[in-house]
Amino acid sequence: MQMKDNILVAIFAAVILTMPIWAGAVGAGYPDLLQKFAIFGLFAIGFNILFGFTGYLSFGHAAFLGVGSYTAMWSFKLLSMNALPAVILATLLSGIFAAAIGFVALRRSGIYFSILTLAFAQMCYNLAYSVLTPVTMGETGLTLAADDPRIFGGAGVEAGGALPSPDFFGLSLSGYNGFYFAAIILVIGFYISVRLYRSSFGLMLLAVKSNQNRMNYTGLNTKPYLLSAFVISGMYAGLAGALMVVIDPLAGAERMQWTASGEVVLMTILGGVGTLLGPFIGAVTIKYFENIFSAFNDAVLNQIFDFLPDFIQVIWVPFASLFVGKGWHLTLGVLFMLVVIFLPGGAMEGFRLLKEKLFKKNEDAAETAKAGGTE
C-alpha cells in the first residue's frame, strides 16, 4: 500500500514539475496559468480533507485564502521579501482563524454548518472592507510600498525606484520560478494529504463521514477530529492564499468573496469528492477552461463563426457570447450540472468507468480468443 502511494506521489510530482515542458502542447504553456493550476490545486486538495474525508461542506474557505494573502503581504512589508516566512506565517495564522471559526461552526452539521461557514466568510469579507481597512487597505487592496520597513532587509527603496519583488533566498520568483515554487509546495501538500488519508486519523475522518452515531457509541468524540480536519484544510487554503501574493504581491478582499468559496466546492465535485487526485484535476479543469473561454469576445466569435450564413451568425454569435468572456461562468454552470447529473463521482469516477470498460473489453477479447483456441 505504502509503495503504491509513493509511486502515485512520484508520478504526480513528475507530471507537475515537467508541466512547463509539455503544457504548451495543450495551449497552457504560460507561467500565470500553470501557477494557477498549482495554487488552486493545492487549495482544492486541502478543501477535500474537510469536505471529501469528513463530508462537512464548508462554504467559507475563501476566508482563509484571504487571511493567507494578507498575512503574506504583511510579511513582505514588515519582515522581508523572502517567500518562506511569508508562506509559513500565512499557514499558521489561517490555521488559528480556522480553529476559531471551526470551533463555532462545527457545533452544527449538514446545511447549518455550511451556512455558518458562509456567514463567517462573508463577515470576514465585509470586515476587510470596513473596520479592518488599516490592515487590508479596503478597496484599494494591500500592496507593497516604497516606505515599507522590511526589518530583515529590502527596505529603503529609493523614491521612484522599482518596488522589490518576492524571492526565495535571493532567487527571483517571477515567471516559471514562481510556478516551481508553488508546484513544489503543491507536491508536498499532495503527499501530506495521501499520508493523512492512509493514517489512523484519516480513517477516523472517513468514519465520521460514514456514521457519527457509531463513532459516538464506540467511545470516540467526533468534534476534535472534525476540528482538526477543518484547521488542516484551512491551513492549506491560507497557504494557497500566500502563494497567490508570492506570485503577484497584491491582496484584495474580493479573494474572500463567497464566489471564491463556491469555486473550490465546484473544483472538488468536478474532480471527485473524497478521492486523492480528483480535487486537483477539478481545479486544473476549471482554470484551464476559464483561461480558454474567458479569452473569447464577440470579435473572436464572429471570426470563428464567419462560415455561417449572415442571418444565423447575427443570432448565434450574441447567444454564444453569453457563454464566453465574462459569461464563462454560465459554461461552468452547465458543465457542473452535466457532471452532477451524469457523473456524480466526478472526473475520477469517469476514469474508473472508462478503465472498467476498457479492461472488460480486453477480458472479453481474451475470453473469445481462448474459446476460439479450444475449438
Binding site: S199, G202, S210, L220, P224
Partner: protein, 258 residues
C-alpha cells in the same frame, strides 16, 4: 453478587405517550439479563435512556463499572458513557457502511487503544501491527475474516449485526447492551451468535443486557428475565419461572412465543 446497573423510577414520555412508566431494574454483575416484551413495550427506549441517547424525565440510573461507587450516567455524552465500559448493539445495525469490514473492525480497536481522540496522522493504518492483529482476531471470532475487504454496506442484515457485535466486543466492555442481536438472522447464524455470546461469557466477564423476541435465544443465554409491557416491568425472575408465568403470557397476547 453485586449490581452493575441499578435503575430506579425511570419515566419517559413522548408527547403524552408513556414509553417508560416507573421502571425499576437491577442488573447483576456477570449476569445475562434478558428484557422481553411485545412490540412498542419500551425496550429500545429503555436502552436509549441508559446510553445517553435519551434523557429520562425522572428517575436515576447508577452504574458500577470499574469503580465501586455508583455513578450516574445522565448528562454524559454517548462517547463518554462508552468509555466507561458500556457498548451497545443497535436494533438496526449501525456500522460504517462506506468502509470495509476490516476498517470497521480497526476503528473500535483503535478507539480502545488510543482513547477518545488521538491525532495519529502520519503512520499508515495498516502499519499498526498489534492493532491490526486485534482487529483480525475479532473478525475471526465472528467468522467475517474472509470478507475483510468487503464493503460493510453490502452485507446482509445478519452479517452487519455480527460485525457490529464484533466491534462492540473489540472494546472489551464491562456491560454489553444488545438490542435484538439475532433479528434478521437465519437459524444457523442465530445459533452461531448464541455460541459466540456463550463463549465470550466464559472467556470474559462481560455483563449483558439482551433485548430479544426469539425465546430460543432468551432461554439459551439468559440468567434472568424481565418482562416489559407498556413501559412497565410486569414480571421478573429466573428464565424457568418466567416461562409459565400467566402475566407474561398475557402481555404477549396469546403468548405465541411461549
Amino acid at each position: 453478587m453485586s449490581a452493575i446497573l441499578t435503575v430506579e423510577g425511570v419515566n419517559k414520555n413522548f408527547s403524552g405517550l408513556k414509553a417508560l412508566d416507573d421502571v425499576n431494574l437491577s442488573v447483576e454483575k456477570g449476569s445475562v439479563h434478558a428484557i422481553i416484551g411485545p412490540n412498542g413495550a419500551g425496550k429500545s427506549t429503555f436502552l436509549n435512556c441508559l446510553v445517553g441517547r435519551l434523557i429520562p424525565d425522572t428517575g436515576t440510573v447508577l452504574y458500577y463499572g470499574k469503580k465501586p461507587e455508583g455513578e450516574t450516567l445522565f448528562g454524559l455524552p454517548p462517547h463518554a458513557i462508552n468509555q466507561k465500559g458500556i457498548s451497545r448493539v443497535f436494533q438496526t445495525p449501525e456500522v460504517f457502511e462506506d468502509l470495509s469490514i476490516f476498517e470497521n473492525a480497526m476503528i473500535p480497536v483503535m478507539a480502545h487503544h488510543d482513547g477518545s481522540y488521538k491525532f495519529n496522522s502520519w503512520g499508515g493504518v495498516v502499519s499498526r501491527g498489534e492493532i491490526v492483529d486485534n482487529a483480525e482476531q475479532i473478525l475471526e471470532d465472528v467468522g467475517l475474516i474472509e470478507k475483510r475487504n468487503v464493503h460493510s454496506g453490502s452485507l446482509s442484515r445478519g452479517d452487519k449485526r455480527r460485525l457490529e457485535l464484533a466491534m462492540c466486543l473489540a472494546q472489551d466492555p464491562e456491560l454489553l447492551l444488545l438490542d435484538e442481536p439475532t433479528a434478521g438472522m437465519a437459524r444457523a447464524d442465530t445459533n452461531n451468535t448464541i455460541d459466540l455470546l456463550k463463549k465470550i461469557g466464559e472467556e470474559r466477564n462481560i455483563t449483558k443486557v439482551i433485548i430479544e423476541h426469539d425465546m430460543h435465544v432468551v432461554f439459551s443465554l439468559a440468567t434472568r428475565v424481565s418482562v416489559l409491557a407498556r413501559g412497565h416491568v410486569i414480571a421478573e425472575g429466573a428464565p424457568e419461572e418466567m416461562k409459565g408465568d400467566p402475566r407474561v403470557q398475557e402481555a404477549y397476547l396469546g403468548g405465541a412465543h411461549l
